[in-house]
Symmetry: C2
Subunit: 510 residues, 2 copies
């Protein structure tokens, strides 16, 4: 795989000086064009120590404007990083649309080093590489341009380079013990690298192998590759957005009867009973039963939660449901059994502008709780396949692939050791109407009701289709949905708190 | 001070049950009214262990909607928190406008405990309390409502309470060894508390001492105090905003000649030579000198910077200057001597909506570098006393008090051990015109020039006044301004890089 990168390709100084000024101007131009575009450029620099990863990052920062480039390097994880899934720090640092981010090794570092030194086997390596593929696909599907450069040196060249760096008093600090350790394990390192590149070089996020021996050759290769890829992506993305806008328009027109469009593909068949239809919505409990039960459950929850704090895992509770489905009230009853310092309730409505400039999952990654804490999501990432689907804020393609993205996201949470609960607060259409009307006449509840609620209600059937499909596609063994029969508030509250208790207990006993 | 909080005041259950429902509805109402308001409510709960700090936080979360309340508790500082000034974590967690935040002890914890156990003397205690006063003043000046509750128990009552909690299997976890240690040091704790309350109870951020013996009494006292204070502040703030809007309007009209208004108070006298007038703007260096010098300086900077990384302090470099003053180009030359992984260049233009919902300093606090890193601020917190002043985005009162806020902010950075540099990139009005015209005709520079630049230029004199006053008021011994004669770009770049080198060296040798 690396033969072509050991050919000793180089560029003479005169040649470089001839080409460089124009390339430099072009780099400034594409950076300015990118600033107005709707996607970020994510560059990964990895490879053999001494082959020029940092130098390439420095050159980009020198030739372009460093104000719109961020360079990310990761050391050993901090306490907070350990308490969250591995990819949390990479998500945290994702650049907004219009900017460059340079990642030095980043998510490739651990899989490769663990395989070279840590004794992970081939299957372990492959599993971590699959995770990388999912992550990068999530980014590229969202429009990001992901380019990966593998800087290569042959073993003799690497030795020469490290020696040379060591001799230079201004550069010797770059050479660490780890570099020489890697050098000694060159063959194993290269074999791992080959497998890594082989399995993670995808059509959308390809690896470019660059010979690192000659600085000028490497610099021109890396920069002109970036230039061409950004230019191409700018054009491509523009065309894509046009198509997607047209499709969404025709979909909206179809929805309002103004035009016609293909029905979005769906696995739920019209006229067939849905998952929600199967719920026994008449279930209810008396006030007395509720009082006795909720007291017991609150004590149980409090005890279990303290054990979970001691056990050091975090809990995420997602609430979705119909408007007026009782999310707020249920959440309050649930958390009131806990200590305010241990939980956080986060309502999600329209994204802030910092959130809107990034992948839709970013705003949820940023709120993943630390060890021993509970975060309640009042609405969540499922907005992508509910409101964004029904209101055509997301294209069919976008919400269609969200099921896989969400399952992958949730798998990372659970693999990390977090407990994840998902509640759908269900009420019937009649019950919703009654609650809306009640809100209209109750002074301290009237703020809860907006015109939008009435408009959403008109789309009940479309939402029902979306809910059914959501449950079907994302209720997994590790993260099942709990459907809550919510016409009776007392029944619903008991069911939610009991479910949380049962899941905490199972997790503690498991 | 605490006599009145040992009177054994209590409220009977019937009385409580009679009052509670209405109070609860009122709490929900004020929370909804607050959501539309332009200020946050910051509650500090501190006091004797067992006197009901957590219980009060829990009750607020139970009675109001926890989605718009955040409860903050702090343990030992994390690695990242240690690497930044002490108040970084409190700034990080400041709530946006319209929300409640409950801080449990928070910034009061360390000063009190250090004095009780750590052997800090009276003067040390007072110094930390002064810092608290500045911090809270910064918040209240910005419109925040800050309310502080000291929950009190007499020593015999505290013993009873801790014993009782220990006996209750559901509550015993609340009682820690530290609680009993505090109990044994009750007298010293109370004496420290008294001084703390005495020195930090201000008109805008008052302490309320609440007897904690009876839960019902404490709950009703705390909640009704909050209710009344929020109501009053909502009214007050509305009136204040009206006045301030009118004043700004008349100021703007005066500026455009449409009306008359008092001149904003200023320490720079018209007609007198200004600080900028004293600069020798003809200074220049030849291309050859520049080439030699910049090479030497870059090597020197690189070496010094590596030493500073090893020494573990962070560096902040602020760049302000006239439009086209050469900030961007100078920053690029400066950072290109460094490794891209060690620095971050942050351009500041309009705030994001998350930033706009908080104190103007919040967006800078969030970007304070970690140990060993450099952050370059391309425009900064000085916007408050420059563009916001001249364009009347900030009221006279707001930009007028910003000098003190900024000096305090910078003192915290320097006391923490960070190195802070501030550069004013100065050019003459003629030079600016020449550069604007050059940008107009140079394709790859044209994006830099906007209509706003020409508009700003019309206000040159007002900006000059603001710059002079800024330098006069904020050039301190610990954080001096470096005025850079920038008509000659080469001279400017050398001066900036040399200053950075000299300051790094002085810091390393000091």
């Amino acid at each position: 795989m690396f033969e072509a990168a050991e050919l000793g390709r180089k560029i003479a100084k005169e040649e470089f000086d001839r080409i460089a000024p124009a390339l430099r101007t072009e780099m400034v131009e594409i950076q300015q064009n990118l600033r107005r575009a709707d996607f970020p450029v994510i560059l990964v620099f990895a490879g053999v120590d001494g082959a020029g990863k940092s130098e390439s990052a420095n050159l980009l920062n020198e030739w372009m404007d460093p104000r719109w480039i961020q360079t990310q390097v990761y050391g050993d994880p901090t306490r907070e990083e350990i308490e969250k899934p591995e990819y949390w720090r990479y998500w945290r640092d994702l650049p907004p649309k219009g900017q460059f981010a340079i990642y030095l090794s980043a998510w490739y570092s651990r899989p490769v080093l663990d395989h070279v030194y840590g004794g992970t086997d081939r299957a372990d390596l492959d599993a971590t590489l699959d995770r990388i593929n999912s992550f990068e696909k999530t980014l590229t599907d969202d429009g990001a341009l992901v380019l990966k450069f593998w800087m290569h040196l042959s073993q003799p060249e690497q030795k020469k380079r490290l020696k040379k760096l060591e001799r230079d008093p201004d550069q010797s600090w770059r050479v660490t013990k780890a570099d020489w350790k890697n050098y000694k394990n060159y063959d194993r390192f290269i074999a791992t690298a080959e497998r890594t590149i082989m399995r993670t070089s995808t059509g959308d996020a390809p690896w470019m192998i660059v010979e690192g021996k000659d600085n000028r050759y490497r610099s021109l290769t890396v920069l002109s590759t970036i230039r061409d890829a950004v230019r191409k992506h700018l054009k491509h993305r523009e065309a894509e957005l046009k198509i997607s806008a047209e499709m969404r328009k025709s979909r909206r027109e179809a929805a309002t009867g103004k035009g016609k469009a293909d029905k979005a593909p769906t696995t739920v068949l019209n006229g067939q009973p849905s998952i929600l239809d199967k719920l026994d919505m008449d279930q209810a409990v008396s006030r007395e039963t509720y009082r006795t039960e909720i007291r017991k459950l609150r004590a149980r929850l409090n005890a279990l939660y303290r054990q979970s704090k001691a056990a050091g895992f975090s809990t995420l509770a997602v609430f979705e449901g119909w408007d007026a489905g009782g999310k707020g009230g249920t959440i309050r009853r649930m958390v009131s059994a806990l200590d305010a310092r241990d939980y956080r309730v986060l309502p999600f409505a329209a994204p802030t502008d910092e959130e809107a400039a990034r992948h839709y999952l970013w705003r949820f990654w940023r709120h993943i709780p630390r060890a021993g804490r509970l975060t309640v999501f009042d609405r969540s990432w499922y907005g992508r396949v509910l409101v964004e689907r029904v209101e055509h804020f997301a294209s069919d393609e976008e919400w269609g692939r969200a099921y896989a993205e969400i399952n992958d996201f949730e798998a990372q949470l659970v693999e990390h050791g977090s407990l994840l609960l998902k509640f759908w607060m269900n009420i019937t259409k009649e019950e919703q109407e009654a609650r809306f009307k009640n809100r209209e006449v109750t002074p301290y509840k009237s703020w809860k009701l907006t015109d939008e609620d009435w408009r959403n209600r008109e789309k009940w059937d479309e939402y029902e289709l979306a809910v059914n499909e959501m449950v079907e596609r994302t209720s997994t063994l590790i993260a099942p949905w709990t459907l809550v029969e919510g016409n009776d508030k007392r029944f619903a509250r008991l069911k939610v708190v009991r479910t949380l208790c049962d899941r905490l207990q199972a997790r503690l006993e498991g």
